[in-house]
């Protein structure tokens, strides 16, 4: 055991965050809340520079962040017009006219340590299984537009996760107020130059008007502009994820009520999102400019939305990929400055959160050490690569041959890592397991089954039960889930209780 540190009164680490969007304020409030006196956090933002406002739809991990920041869920939801989210419905991805929900939860329960999906595959082959969705509590609740907070003591088949759909443009300002109350200093201003020391590390940001903001560690949350990290090598993934534009427009809420899930609807040159909030519906068309003009995309989106548009459509341009070294020298990039993966699985805010976690785990004591940045970069490489493969799966696992775009993604080469996953699934119904990374076995099962990638083989132990017994068990399971869902209040009632 080493003796106590006599240097515990060392100076706080001066952290300068550039950019006041979702990434910037999430980073700021996390540092202010979790590192206390060990850091001094200074955020520089400019009202003149718009924010992208990533991630109207989120993943369940955000709940942990909200809780860790000591934020009250109901207050946060009211302030950001948030609704609950139980999963994402994908329409027309595997085949036109087909749909499935990727739920925040599992399917059924294992039997004798053998995964449920093996028994389902066997029952399906015997013609006695319903669609796999009927064995997922989250899917059935989403389809019934019902919601209640999950019970900790729930039967495993009734357990599920949930996330939020919220107005991202309100999230940053909401966090800003709380971060500043916790000591984050904010400076309004546009960066005109970056001072570097003799080793090339950033020493200070120089703002319009001459103000100089010095720091030890700089966090680049400047979005696609990547003001500080822009020279770091970019790994381009657009050959696998060819969508490079989006057009977004909010519209009035539809009459159908507020669904507790996000919709992703396949389009001729990409896909369209529909995110129901309390006060409006967020819509967007993510497309490949090689397969669709901006005007056509805009027209397609406006003709597809269900309510009157509430603003002019807004165009976004991007390129799928990421920085190879998102932490270089004393600059850490978080959010869109570090990379971009399209919002097909609502991963933008998750990636911000993952980067914040990695930063906290590797926060330097003084000058940033290559060991800290190596560990951070390794963790983020892992996150990006796992999500990348999962997104590519949504495009590649298709039978669609009705447009140039779908022909391209169906026939394109895919990463070896994804090829291996697909082969193992097709042959054995096994999903490679990793201890870390975002999407676990139930997610892969959902998308692969949902898009028609049905294995030719499954665990031989699933052959043991008699077909009649298996059918009876499955019927009992789906009835049990249906009864549990019927006992939940409607999504709107659950939201109404919060207002």
């Amino acid at each position: 055991m080493t003796a106590a540190n006599s240097d515990s009164e060392t100076q706080p680490l001066r952290v300068v965050i550039l950019g006041g969007g979702t990434a910037g304020w999430m980073t700021a409030i996390a540092l202010a809340t979790l590192t206390g006196a060990a850091t001094e956090v200074h955020l520089v933002e400019s009202e003149d520079i718009g924010i992208v406002g990533v991630g109207e739809a989120t993943l369940p991990h955000l709940r942990a962040f909200i809780t860790r920041m000591g934020i009250d869920e109901q207050e946060f939801m009211a302030a950001t017009q948030a609704t609950y989210k139980l999963g994402i419905e994908f329409s027309g991805f595997g085949r036109q006219g087909e749909r499935y929900i990727h739920p925040f939860g599992t399917y059924g329960r294992p039997l004798a340590d053998v995964g449920f999906h093996h028994f389902w595959l066997r029952a399906r082959a015997a013609g006695v299984a319903s669609r796999i969705d009927e064995y997922s509590f989250a899917v059935m609740a989403a389809e019934a537009a019902r919601f209640a907070h999950p019970r900790e003591d729930a039967d495993p088949v009734e357990s599920f996760g949930y996330a939020y759909q919220f107005d991202a443009t309100l999230f940053g300002p909401y966090l800003r107020e709380r971060a500043m109350a916790r000591g984050v200093r904010r400076t309004e201003g546009r960066v005109v130059s970056v001072e570097r020391d003799e080793r090339g590390r950033v020493a200070a940001l120089v703002l319009e008007g001459g103000e100089r903001v010095a720091g030890d560690l700089f966090v680049d949350c400047s979005g696609f502009r990547a003001v500080l990290i822009g020279d770091a090598e970019w790994e381009d993934w657009s050959h696998w994820l060819p969508c490079d534009r989006a057009v977004a427009v909010p519209c009035e809420p539809a009459d159908q009520g507020i669904e507790p899930f996000t919709r992703a609807i396949a389009m001729p040159a990409g896909w369209r999102w529909r995110i129901p909030l309390r006060h409006r519906v967020g819509n967007g068309y993510v497309y490949s400019s090689a397969h669709c003009t901006d005007d056509d995309a805009r027209a397609a989106l406006l003709s597809a939305i269900e309510g009157n548009p509430l603003a002019e459509p807004r165009m976004l341009r991007f390129r799928a990929g990421r920085r190879r070294n998102g932490w270089t020298g004393n600059v850490v990039s978080i959010g869109l400055a570090s990379g971009f993966l399209e919002p097909l699985e609502s991963t933008s805010i998750y990636l911000i959160q993952a980067a914040i976690t990695a930063l906290l785990e590797n926060l330097p004591n003084g000058p940033a050490d290559p060991g800290d940045s190596d560990a951070f970069n390794h963790q983020m490489d892992y996150e990006y690569a796992r999500i990348r493969d999962f997104l590519i799966l949504h495009y590649h696992a298709t039978e669609r041959a009705d447009s140039g775009f779908w022909n391209h993604v169906r026939t394109m080469d895919i990463p070896d890592s994804l090829t291996e996953k697909l082969e193992l699934w097709r042959r054995c119904a096994v999903v490679p397991q990793y201890r870390r990374g975002l999407f676990l076995e139930p997610s892969w099962i959902s998308v692969m089954i949902g898009q028609g990638v049905v294995p030719e083989g499954w665990d031989p132990r699933a052959e043991v039960p008699a077909v009649e017994g298996l059918e009876k068990a499955l019927v009992g399971l789906s009835r049990h889930i249906a009864a549990g869902v019927r006992a939940m209040p409607s999504h709107e009632a659950a939201l109404g209780a919060n207002v």
Binding site: M1, T2, A3, A4, N5, S6, D7, S8, T10, L13, L34, T35, G36, A37, A38, T39, R68, A112, D113, V114, L121, R122, A125, L360, E361, N362, L363, P364, N365, G366, D369, G371, D372, D374, A375, Q379, E420, E423, L424, R427, C428, V430, P432, Q433, Y434, R435, R436, V454, P455, E456, G457, W458, D459, P460, R461, A462, E463, V464
Partner: protein, 452 residues
């Protein structure tokens, strides 16, 4: 698909006669009941480390369920005892202990260990560690020891006999090896390693783990919660006190250098390392045949059980499947390599001046372990790992005992105000004292339940 392309195995042949082979036989038979499972016992099979020193670390305890074994029953029948820490003397300065597993509640979301190192001048880690305090006081009972984990130390001979009975009841058959070719859908090799360091399939860990010769003898002894390890010029010696027996193990590069060993001591020669592909076609290597992490900490049996659990999870079919093999081999390697690095750490950090240890320090530190040590010495933080056979607490205490962390420690620990940290440390110390007082003397407790 209207039928399953994976046909279940109809026959399995298990080579070996120790605990690993019997566990594999029972597990396969229980998982695939229609499968004919035969254990082929070698006439002169040699001795494996995994069979000789069966210890089950916490991550492998759930495997007892897959084997139809009852943990409490094993303890009651005197086959198993609990180990909550290892004590090391002559390794590095004063003797130190490493807990098997314990949960340290964070303070304001910050891990407890760095806060203790930053804000406390306390040199005795047992002040804040219930596991180490229990170990020092010789007090423990498995239920009610909040957050303290344990390894189950099994009596090798009696455990093997119990497994044999269980196997026979499950319908496993036994045959002596006669050199004839074995025809089975699945063959599991649980014998000594077939591969040598010269074989291309074999990843030799001798470059990072020293000491390839072991002497083992037994004597009467009183059960203990702690395994003792002492470093000598010639190597190291361990005393493992299970129910009624004291096992002595001496490890060196040269058994003739080991003093005080009785002439009846069993000699075991081993080569640390693992097979690159323990599953190839319909043959799977398990136990020492797959990976030998060496005797320090006795991780071999735990590793075998975890590999067996992985095998059950992926469940081979009757036809070889290269994709399943690849997944098994990938994940099996992750498990094996974590143990390799922890065992190597215990050698690499020793400061004994003897020849054995000088040689140990000159060995290669694997890149993952080098990164772990560098991270700890730079920041006082312990690693995020892909496998977790060795607990966070064990890594943290081993690193803290063997290496000095740089001043400044963990930046997050510095975020906790000094008064809040002091209060948390004070409460923790009080909790530890209270917990120790609430525990019975272990030898009395185990004596009581084994008499029932």
């Amino acid at each position: 698909m209207d039928h399953n392309a994976r046909r279940p195995i109809a026959s399995a042949a298990i080579f070996g006669n120790g605990a690993v082979a019997l566990c594999a036989a029972i597990a396969i038979k229980r998982a695939v009941q229609q499968c004919s499972v035969r254990v082929i016992e070698p006439v002169d099979g040699g001795t494996t480390l995994a069979d000789s020193f069966p210890v089950i670390y916490p991550p492998a305890l759930p495997m007892l369920h897959a084997l139809g074994l009852d943990e409490v029953g094993l303890v009651r029948s005197g086959l198993a005892s609990h180990r909550i820490a290892d004590r090391f003397a002559g390794w590095h300065g004063d003797p130190f202990m490493i807990p098997v597993e314990e949960h340290e509640p964070p303070v304001s979301g910050v891990p407890f260990g760095p806060i203790a190192r930053l804000h406390s001048g306390e040199a005795d880690p047992s002040v804040f560690s219930p596991a180490l305090a229990f170990a020092q006081a010789g007090r423990f009972r498995p239920e009610g020891a909040d957050g303290v984990g344990y390894a189950l130390r099994l009596d090798p001979d009696r455990f093997a006999r119990a497994l044999r009975t269980l196997s026979e009841r499950a319908g496993v058959t036994f045959a002596k090896a006669d050199g004839a070719a074995i025809d089975a859908d699945l063959c599991i090799d649980c014998g000594p390693p077939i591969e040598s360091a010269d074989a291309p399939q074999f990843e030799d860990w001798g470059t990072s783990i020293p000491g390839h010769h072991l002497l083992h003898w037994q004597a009467e002894g009183v059960v203990s919660l702690v395994d003792d390890h002492a470093a000598f010029d010639w190597g190291w010696k361990a005393e493992i006190c299970g129910p009624g027996r004291r096992h002595h193990i001496a490890v060196s590069n040269d058994t003739s250098a080991i003093p005080d060993a009785p002439s009846s001591a069993i000699k075991i020669q081993f080569t640390p390392g693992r097979l690159a592909s323990p599953w190839a076609r319909n043959r799977i290597a398990l136990g020492d045949a797959a990976a030998v992490p060496g005797p320090l900490g006795h991780f071999g049996f735990t590793l075998a059980l975890l590999h067996l659990g992985l095998l059950l999870e992926l469940m081979p079919g009757a036809e070889p499947d290269p994709l399943l093999e690849r997944e098994y081999n990938r994940r099996a390697a992750i498990l094996s390599d974590e143990v390799r690095d922890f065992v190597a750490l215990l050698h690499a950090g020793a400061q004994h001046r003897g020849a054995f240890w000088q040689q140990a320090r000159a060995l290669v530190t694997t890149p993952p372990l080098a990164s772990i040590i560098a991270r700890f010495t730079r920041t006082g933080r312990t690693p995020v790992r892909e496998a977790e056979i060795v607990s966070d607490a064990a890594w943290a205490h081993a690193l803290a005992a063997l290496f000095d962390a740089a001043p400044g420690f963990d930046a997050l620990a510095r975020s906790v105000p000094a008064d809040q940290a002091a209060a948390a440390l004070s409460h923790r110390a009080e909790d530890v004292r209270r917990l120790v007082a609430s525990q019975p003397r272990y030898e009395e407790w185990i004596g009581r339940i084994t008499r029932r």
